[in-house]
C-alpha cells in the first residue's frame, strides 16, 4: 500500500532540478553508521489484505453491541444518531489541521464556537474551551488552573474519593511536576459537605464528581460558598448526559466544570479517542488551557470566527504558557456538537430521563433478589444511570457467569477500584438497554446468587 505518486521519470526530473544523483544522496547528512537501517517489519499488505487482516483482529473482540451490556464506569453505550458519523466523515473536516488560517477554516471555527456555546449552556458556565483530550486530562488541567488561580502559596487539592479512579490517577501524574499535594479520604461514601470541611487556607481547590463513580448524585448546595469562603475553587466533574435533566454545577457556583464527552456521540473505541469538556468562569479565561474560538468580523464587517487569546498558548508564550496542549480533540468536539444539535433540548432531556428510569427499574428489581443489596451504603441517595450491587459472590465471578452462561456483559468490578469492594459491581443502565435486557440480567443474577 503506497500513496506516493512519482513515476521513475518524474523522480529523475526532480533529482536533476535539485542537482543530486540519487534519492539516497539527499540523506548524506545522516551519520553513516545509522543510515538506512533494516527495520524488520512484516512485509507490506495491500488494501485487500489489510482489510482482511484487521477484520480478523476485530473479530477477536466482543463489542458492546454484541449483546446486553451493563458496563460503564467512565465509558458507556449510548445512542449515537447517524448524523454524527455523517458529519465526521466529511473530508473537509477530518483532513484539516487546527484552524490557524481562519479564512479557510470558518466551518470548523463556527462549529467549535457553537460547541463552546452549547457546553456553556449545558454546564451553566460562561466559557468553554474547544476541547481537551478526555475527561481525565480536563480534570488535571482544571487542577492546574486552580493552582495557578490561587497562587498565594496554596498547594493543596482536596479530592473526593468517588472521583473516577483513573481520572484521579491522571491528576496525580500531572502533579508530579509541581509541589502540589493531593488529599483524598479513603471512604468513597464520604459526603460532599465533609469534603468541603477539609478545605483550608492552603487548599487551592475541592474536586467533586456528580454523578460520582458509584453513580450517586451529589448535592452541591452550599458547597461552593464554603469552598470560596476559604479562598479555594470548586471543580466539579459531571456526566454530560445527566446535564440534560439535572441542574448544572454552574448553578451551584462551581468555578470549573469538566466532563468526559464520550457519551455525547463518541464510540467507546476501547477508551479513546474521547473528548475532554472544560468550562469555567469568565474570570479565569486567561488561565484557560487549550484552544478558544472567538467571534469577530472580517475586513468587510462580516461575521467570522478565529482562534483567540493565543497569547495563553504554547506556540506564543512557550515556557510561560497556561498548558502545553496543542492538538486536542477537535473532531470529538465536532461529534459532540453534532450530537447535541441532533438530539437537542428535548432529546437530551429524554435520554437522561430514560437512563434515570431504566436504571431505577433495574435497581429495584435487583434489590428484590434475596441476598443482594443495591447501594448498600446509601440506599436512599439519588443516583443516575449507575448503581452499586452487592453480591454474596465476588463480582468477577458473577461477571464471568453472566458472560459465559447468559451472553451478558455485566457491571464493573468495583474491587478493581476500592479495597474491600470485591463483591460489588457497578451496574450501568442507559437508554440503549431495553426492559427485556434488564429482566434478563435480573434473572441471571438471581440464578447466580441462588
Amino acid at each position: 500500500m503506497s500513496y506516493t505518486p512519482h513515476t521513475p521519470d518524474e523522480q529523475r526530473r526532480m533529482l536533476d532540478a535539485i542537482g543530486v544523483d540519487s534519492l539516497e544522496a539527499l540523506f548524506d547528512a545522516i551519520p553513516g553508521r545509522a543510515r538506512f537501517p533494516e527495520l524488520g517489519l512484516p512485509a507490506p499488505l495491500s488494501e485487500l489484505e489489510l482489510d482482511a487482516e484487521l477484520r480478523r483482529l476485530a473479530s477477536r473482540n466482543t463489542g458492546i453491541d454484541a449483546g446486553p451490556c451493563f458496563l460503564g464506569a467512565g465509558a458507556w453505550r449510548h445512542f449515537v444518531p447517524a448524523t454524527v458519523d455523517y458529519v465526521l466523515q466529511r473530508g473537509e473536516f477530518y483532513t484539516a489541521y487546527t484552524p490557524y488560517q481562519p479564512e479557510l477554516s470558518q466551518g470548523m471555527l463556527q462549529a467549535m464556537f457553537e460547541y463552546q456555546t452549547m457546553i456553556c449552556r449545558l454546564t451553566g458556565m460562561e466559557v468553554s474551551n474547544a476541547s481537551h483530550y478526555d475527561g481525565a486530562t480536563s480534570l488535571a488541567e482544571a487542577v492546574l488552573l486552580a493552582l495557578d488561580a490561587t497562587k498565594d502559596a496554596r498547594t493543596g487539592i482536596v479530592m473526593s474519593p468517588s472521583v473516577h479512579l483513573h481520572h484521579r490517577g491522571v491528576v496525580e501524574t500531572y502533579l508530579r511536576g509541581s509541589d502540589a499535594e493531593l488529599r483524598v479520604p479513603d471512604d468513597p461514601t464520604v459526603a460532599a459537605a465533609d469534603l468541603a470541611d477539609m478545605v483550608d487556607e492552603r487548599t487551592a481547590a475541592l474536586v467533586l464528581q456528580t454523578p460520582n463513580v458509584l453513580g450517586r448524585l451529589e448535592r452541591l448546595d452550599g458547597i461552593a460558598e464554603a469552598v470560596h469562603g476559604k479562598g479555594a475553587l470548586l471543580i466539579v466533574a459531571v456526566d454530560p448526559i445527566a446535564l440534560g435533566l439535572f441542574r448544572p454545577p454552574g448553578e451551584f457556583g462551581a468555578d470549573v466544570v469538566v466532563a468526559d464527552g464520550q457519551p455525547l456521540g463518541l464510540a467507546p473505541s476501547f477508551g479513546g479517542p474521547s473528548l475532554g469538556i472544560f468550562a469555567t468562569r469568565r474570570a479565569h479565561i486567561r488561565r484557560l488551557a487549550g484552544r478558544l474560538v472567538g467571534e469577530t468580523a472580517d475586513a468587510d464587517g462580516r461575521r467570522g470566527y478565529v482562534l483567540t487569546l493565543a497569547t495563553r498558548e504554547q506556540h506564543i508564550r512557550r515556557a510561560r504558557a497556561t498548558s502545553n496542549i496543542c492538538t486536542n480533540s477537535a473532531l470529538g468536539a465536532l461529534a459532540a456538537a453534532t450530537y447535541l444539535a441532533t438530539v437537542g433540548k428535548a432529546g437530551l432531556r429524554r435520554i437522561a430521563e430514560l437512563c434515570f428510569h431504566k436504571s431505577h427499574y433495574a435497581a429495584d428489581r435487583i434489590a428484590a433478589i434475596d441476598g443482594v443489596a443495591v447501594n448498600p451504603d446509601a440506599p436512599q441517595a439519588p443516583f443516575f444511570k449507575e448503581f452499586v450491587v452487592e453480591l454474596p459472590v465476588p463480582a468477577a465471578e458473577a461477571n464471568a457467569r453472566l458472560h459465559d452462561g447468559h451472553g451478558i456483559v455485566g457491571g464493573f468490578d468495583l474491587g478493581r477500584f476500592f479495597p474491600g469492594y470485591g463483591n460489588r459491581m457497578l451496574v450501568a443502565v442507559t437508554e440503549t438497554n431495553t426492559r427485556a435486557e434488564i429482566d434478563r440480567l435480573v434473572a441471571a443474577l438471581r440464578e447466580i446468587v441462588s
Binding site: T4, M14, L15, A17, I18, L26, A29, I30, A34, L41, P42, L45, L50, D51, A58, S59, R60, T62, D65, C69, E92, Y94, T95, Y100, E103, M118, R121, V127, L144, V170, T173, Y174, R176, G177, R219, L243, F246, F270, G271, P273, E295, T296, A299, T308, H315, I316, A319, N324, T327, N328, A330, A341, V343, K345, E353, L354, F356, Y361, P382, H403
Partner: protein, 479 residues
C-alpha cells in the same frame, strides 16, 4: 453570506430526534435537582445535516487540496483506515472489558508497540499519550523520575534549542523543569558551545527536534548526545518530524533516550481539524520501566494483557490511549512495511528539496542546504515589503492552503513549507507557479497581497477585535 448559528436556527418546540418510549415504570425524580431548561437548541435533523454540510463547505482539508503546512505533515489520510477504525470489533469495544474479550485489540496494540520500537530504535513503548505535547510531558516526567530515582532530584534544567516548537518549553514547565534556550549556529544546528556550557549538575536533559524545525538534519547530533550523556543528562527527541526519517535512521541509534511519535503526522492518522492525535513515547532500556501504564505485554502462551511498568510515572489519560488512532496508524505501518516507510521518507524529502530549489531565487532560504521533509524560506520575495502573512493570504486566492507562518522564530518572515510525500509533481509545479506569480504581484501590485484573500467566504479577520471583545459563546445567559 453568513451561516446562521445553531441557536439562530433554533425554534422553540421544534420536534427533533425521536427516542424510544419508556418501557419501564417511571421512577420519581429528585425534583430539587431537576433543571427547567438544559439550554440546548431545537432543530430538526435535516436542518442539522444541512448546517454541518454548509459549514464543511467553508473548511479546507487535505482532501480538498495542497496543504503545505510545515511541521504538521498534511499527507493523504487513507480512506481504508477510516473504515477499519469503525469496525464494530474496534469502535464498539469498552475499555474496561475483560482482556479475554479484547485480544484482537490488544494484539493490534502490541504489534504497533513493536513496530514503533523498530522504527524508532527503542526498547520500550507506550501508546497512551493522546497527542505529541502529551508525549513530551510523559517523557519529561519520566526524565524527572529517572533522575530522582538515581538520587539526583536537583537536576532541573532542560535545554531547548531556539528553533523548537513552543510545546517543548511549555511541557518542560509543566513537568517542573526550568527551560533554558540554546541558540542555533550558522548552519541551523544547535550551537554546540552553548550546549557544552550548560552541561552541569543541574542538567536534566535536552529536547532535540531532528530534523529541526528548519527542516534540517541536526548534523551535530552525535556530539550533542555525547556531551549531554557525559554530563549525566538525557536526550529527548521531539518526533514531530519523523516523517523524514522512517526507514532512514532510527533516533535510538543516534543517542536519543526518549522520543514521542506523532501518529497524526508520521503515520497518516487524520488531524481532525485539531485532533484527536496520538503521541506514543519510545524509551531506551534504562528508561522503559518509567513508562506510563498500562502497556500491552504478551504472555508465553500468546495471550495479551495490560500491565503497568515497574517504575511507571502513572497514567496519562483515562484508559489506553487514543485506540482509534492506533488502529489507523497500525494500518498505515502494516500497509507500508520497511520499504514503504523508507519510500515515504524519500519522497517527502524529494518533494521538499524540489520546492526549495524552485523557490529559493525569489524567497530567500536562510540555511540553504539539502533539507529533509520541509524547509523554511523568508516570505518577503525579492526584498519587497511584502510580509509572510500577505503571501500566505494571497496563496488562498490561488486555491492553496498557506505554509506555516512566522515559525520557527529565528527566521524573519518565516514560511515553513512541507509538501509531504503524497503530492504529485504537477501539484508542486502549480504551487511554484503561484508562489512566483505572487512574488511578481508583491513587486507590481502589493495591494493585491495586502488585501488578500479576495476569494474566501470571509476576508481577513480582525484577530485583535476577537481578543478584545472575547465573544467566546453566543449571547444568552446560561440558565
Amino acid at each position: 453570506t453568513d451561516i446562521p448559528t445553531l441557536y439562530e436556527l433554533s425554534v422553540p418546540g421544534r420536534p427533533g430526534t425521536s427516542l424510544p418510549d419508556c418501557d419501564v415504570p417511571p421512577a420519581p425524580l429528585p425534583d430539587d435537582l431537576v433543571r427547567a431548561d438544559n439550554g440546548l437548541p431545537e432543530l430538526s435533523e435535516p436542518e442539522v445535516v444541512r448546517h454541518y454540510l454548509h459549514l464543511s463547505q467553508r473548511n479546507y482539508g487535505v482532501d480538498g487540496g495542497f496543504y503545505p503546512l510545515g511541521s504538521c505533515t498534511m499527507k493523504y489520510n487513507p480512506k481504508i483506515n477510516e473504515r477499519l477504525a469503525r469496525l464494530p470489533g474496534f469502535a464498539g469495544l469498552h475499555p474496561l472489558q475483560d482482556e479475554a474479550s479484547a485480544q484482537g485489540a490488544l494484539e493490534l496494540m502490541h504489534r504497533l508497540q513493536e513496530a514503533l520500537k523498530r522504527i524508532g530504535g527503542f526498547a520500550g513503548m507506550t501508546l497512551q499519550p493522546a497527542a505529541g505535547a502529551q508525549g513530551e510531558l510523559t517523557a519529561l516526567l519520566m526524565i524527572r523520575a529517572w533522575h530522582a530515582n538515581r538520587g539526583e532530584p536537583g537536576r532541573d534544567v532542560i535545554l531547548i534549542p531556539d528553533s523548537a516548537h513552543g510545546t517543548n518549553p511549555a511541557s518542560a514547565t509543566m513537568a517542573g523543569f526550568v527551560a533554558v534556550e540554546v541558540p542555533s549556529d550558522g548552519r541551523g544546528n544547535v550551537d554546540i558551545e552553548a550546549v557544552s556550557a550548560a552541561c552541569d549538575d543541574r542538567l536534566a536533559g535536552i529536547m532535540l527536534t531532528n530534523p529541526t524545525t528548519l527542516g534540517l538534519f541536526e548534523e551535530r547530533i552525535d556530539e550533542v548526545a555525547a556531551l549531554v550523556h557525559a554530563a549525566g543528562g538525557l536526550v529527548y527527541g521531539d518526533g514531530a518530524n519523523m516523517n523524514a526519517l522512517t526507514g532512514i535512521a532510527r533516533p535510538g541509534d543516534l543517542g536519543v533516550d526518549l522520543m514521542h511519535f506523532n501518529l497524526h503526522k508520521t503515520f497518516a492518522t487524520p488531524h481532525g481539524g485539531g485532533g484527536p492525535g496520538s503521541g506514543p513515547v519510545g524509551a531506551s532500556a534504562a528508561l522503559a520501566p518509567y513508562l506510563p501504564g498500562p502497556v500491552v505485554e504478551m504472555d508465553g502462551d500468546g495471550r495479551y494483557r495490560l500491565e503497568t511498568p515497574a517504575r511507571s510515572i502513572g497514567r496519562m489519560c483515562a484508559f489506553h490511549g487514543n485506540f482509534g488512532m492506533l488502529v489507523r496508524a497500525y494500518a498505515s505501518i502494516a500497509g507500508h512495511g520497511d520499504s514503504g516507510l523508507k519510500a515515504n521518507a524519500m519522497a517527502a524529502v524529494l518533494n521538499a528539496n524540489y520546492l526549495r530549489v524552485k523557490l529559493r531565487d525569489r524567497y530567500p532560504v536562510p540555511f540553504d542546504r539539502t533539507c529533509m521533509h520541509e524547509f523554511v524560506c523568508e516570505g518577503r520575495p525579492d526584498g519587497t515589503r511584502a510580509r509572510a502573512l500577505d503571501v500566505s493570504k494571497r496563496l488562498m486566492d490561488y486555491g492553496f492552503h498557506p505554509p506555516t507562518n512566522y515559525f520557527p522564530l529565528i527566521v524573519p518572515e518565516a514560511l515553513m513549507i512541507e509538501p509531504t510525500e503524497t503530492e504529485t509533481l504537477a501539484t508542486l509545479d502549480a504551487f511554484v507557479a503561484a508562489m512566483l506569480a505572487i512574488a511578481d504581484e508583491a513587486r507590481d501590485r502589493p495591494d493585491l497581497l495586502h488585501d488578500a484573500p479576495h476569494t474566501t467566504p470571509v476576508r481577513r479577520l480582525d484577530e485583535v477585535r476577537a481578543a478584545r471583545e472575547l465573544r467566546v459563546a453566543e449571547p444568552g445567559d446560561p440558565e
